[in-house]
C-alpha cells in the first residue's frame, strides 16, 4: 500500500501518456509510412527514369559478405527490364552512409547512385551527394572500382577521383560499391535473373 500511495501519480501519468502516445502514433503512422514509401519511389524513379514500375525481387535477404539485409528492385518498362536498384550501406567518416545504387539490365554498367542518408562533414564529405563526384559513377563498369587522389574526373571508367579534402568519404562510397556490386550480381545470377 505504501508503494501505491507513494507512486500512484507516476503510474497514472505513465498510463495516460502511454495512451496519448499510442493515439498520436496510430493517427500519424499512415502518413509517416506514406512519406517513407513516396521518398523511396521518388529515389528509385530518379535513378531509373525510364522504368514505369518497380518490383522488389529480393526483399530483406541476408547475403553472404554483406552485413545488412538486402532489397533489390527490378525496374520494368513495357515488360522489359530497365535495370536493378538496391540499397547499400557502409561506414563513412562520421556515421554510416546509405546509398541507393542503380545498374543496367545486364548488370554491366552503373547507372548512378543517390545518397539516402549520410552525416559526412558539411562542405567536405557531404560532397559525395554532388554531381561532380556522382557523375564519375554514371556509365562506369559494374565491377571493382578504384579510388585515386589525382586524375581526370571526366573520364568514365573504374577509376574514381576522390573529393579534395574528403578522401575518407570518397573511399567509403567506393568501398560500398565494391562490397555490394559483386555480391548482388552473384545473388541475381544465382536466382536466374541475369546471366
Amino acid at each position: 500500500m505504501l508503494f501505491i500511495r507513494e507512486s500512484w501519480l507516476l503510474i497514472v501519468a505513465s498510463l495516460c501518456f502511454g495512451i496519448l502516445l499510442a493515439g498520436v502514433n496510430y493517427a500519424l503512422k499512415p502518413k509517416i509510412d506514406a512519406n517513407a514509401s513516396s521518398k523511396q519511389n521518388e529515389a528509385l524513379k530518379e535513378l531509373l527514369i525510364n522504368a514505369q514500375s518497380f518490383e522488389a525481387v529480393v526483399k530483406d535477404q541476408t547475403v553472404e559478405n554483406i552485413g545488412a539485409p538486402v532489397t533489390v528492385y527490378k525496374g520494368v518498362n513495357n515488360g522489359q527490364c530497365e535495370g536493378w536498384v538496391f540499397g547499400a550501406t557502409g561506414p563513412g567518416y562520421a556515421d554510416r552512409i546509405d546509398l541507393l545504387i542503380a545498374v543496367d539490365a545486364k548488370f554491366e554498367k552503373i547507372i548512378g547512385y543517390n545518397v539516402l542518408f549520410s552525416n559526412e562533414t558539411v562542405g567536405f564529405g557531404d560532397k559525395i551527394k554532388n554531381s561532380f563526384f556522382k557523375d564519375q559513377f554514371v556509365g562506369a563498369p559494374a565491377a571493382k572500382l578504384e579510388l585515386f587522389k589525382m586524375g581526370d574526373d571526366k573520364v568514365i571508367n573504374a577509376e574514381i577521383i576522390a573529393i579534395s579534402g574528403a578522401t575518407v568519404s570518397s573511399n567509403a562510397a567506393v568501398e560500398i560499391f565494391n562490397q555490394y556490386l559483386p555480391n548482388i550480381k552473384a545473388l541475381l545470377i544465382q536466382k536466374g535473373m541475369i546471366q
Binding site: L10, L21, V24, N35, A36, K39, N119
Partner: protein, 204 residues
C-alpha cells in the same frame, strides 16, 4: 530568477525573450544552439519544436504541481517532457519529413534540454496553468529568436543566403568556416558578449 512571486503575463512573457533568455542570459540549451544553427530553416524548426514541448510540459506539470512528491519530481518532469518530445518528433516525421531527417537526433534530444526541465522546476511547478503557458511561450520564443538570429548570421556569412534565397550582392565572398562548428562557437561567443555589453549599459 524571475519575479515569480508576483508574476504578470507581460513580465513573464518578456522575461523569456530578453532578461532570462535561455541561451543568451541563462546559457542553457547550448548543444542544439551550436548544432542546428547552420541554416535558418533548421533553427526555426528546432526553436518551434522546443516551444511546443515547453508549453505542453509546463501546462501539464502546473496541473499536477500540488500532487508532486519531492522524490518523484524529476521523474515526473522527465516523463512529461519525453511524451511531448515524442509527439513533436512524430509530427515532424509526418508533416516535415525532410526537416526531420536533417535535424536527426537533435529533436529527440530535446528530452534532455536543460531549458525545459529548468522551466518545469522554476515556473510550472510553482504557478498555475495560465502563467506556466505564458512562460513556456516566452521562453520558447526567446530560444527560437536567438537560434534564428545566430542561424541568419551563419547562413549569410557561409552561403550568402537566408532560407536558401540569395541575399548578398554578386561577388560576395562567403566564409565557409561559419557553416562549421567553429563558426557556431565564434558567433555565439560574440552574441553573448554583445548582450552582456547591452545589459551593462542598460543597468547604468
Amino acid at each position: 530568477m524571475s519575479d515569480i512571486n508576483t508574476p504578470t503575463v507581460a513580465k513573464t512573457f518578456l522575461t523569456g525573450i530578453w532578461k532570462e533568455n535561455p541561451v543568451l542570459a541563462l546559457v542553457l540549451g547550448t548543444c542544439p544552439t551550436l548544432a542546428v544553427t547552420g541554416d535558418v530553416a533548421s533553427a526555426i524548426t528546432m526553436g518551434l519544436s522546443a516551444t511546443f514541448v515547453l508549453v505542453c510540459s509546463n501546462f501539464v506539470i502546473s496541473l499536477m504541481r500540488n500532487l508532486l512528491k519531492p522524490h518523484l519530481r524529476i521523474l515526473m518532469f522527465t516523463l512529461t517532457i519525453a511524451t511531448f518530445v515524442t509527439i513533436a518528433d512524430l509530427l515532424l516525421k509526418a508533416y516535415l519529413p525532410e526537416m526531420s531527417t536533417k535535424l536527426g537526433p537533435y529533436i529527440p534530444l530535446i528530452i534532455v534540454n536543460c531549458i525545459i526541465i529548468c522551466r518545469a522546476e522554476a515556473c510550472a511547478s510553482k504557478n498555475g496553468p495560465f502563467i506556466s503557458i505564458v512562460d513556456g511561450i516566452g521562453m520558447g520564443l526567446g530560444f527560437t529568436l536567438t537560434l534564428s538570429v545566430l542561424a541568419t548570421i551563419r547562413e549569410v556569412l557561409s552561403y550568402g543566403t537566408i532560407l536558401g534565397k540569395s541575399v548578398m550582392p554578386d561577388g560576395f565572398i562567403t566564409l565557409f568556416a561559419f557553416a562549421l562548428p567553429v563558426g557556431a562557437f565564434v558567433t555565439l561567443g560574440l552574441m553573448l558578449g554583445l548582450v552582456k555589453i547591452i545589459n551593462e549599459k542598460l543597468a547604468k
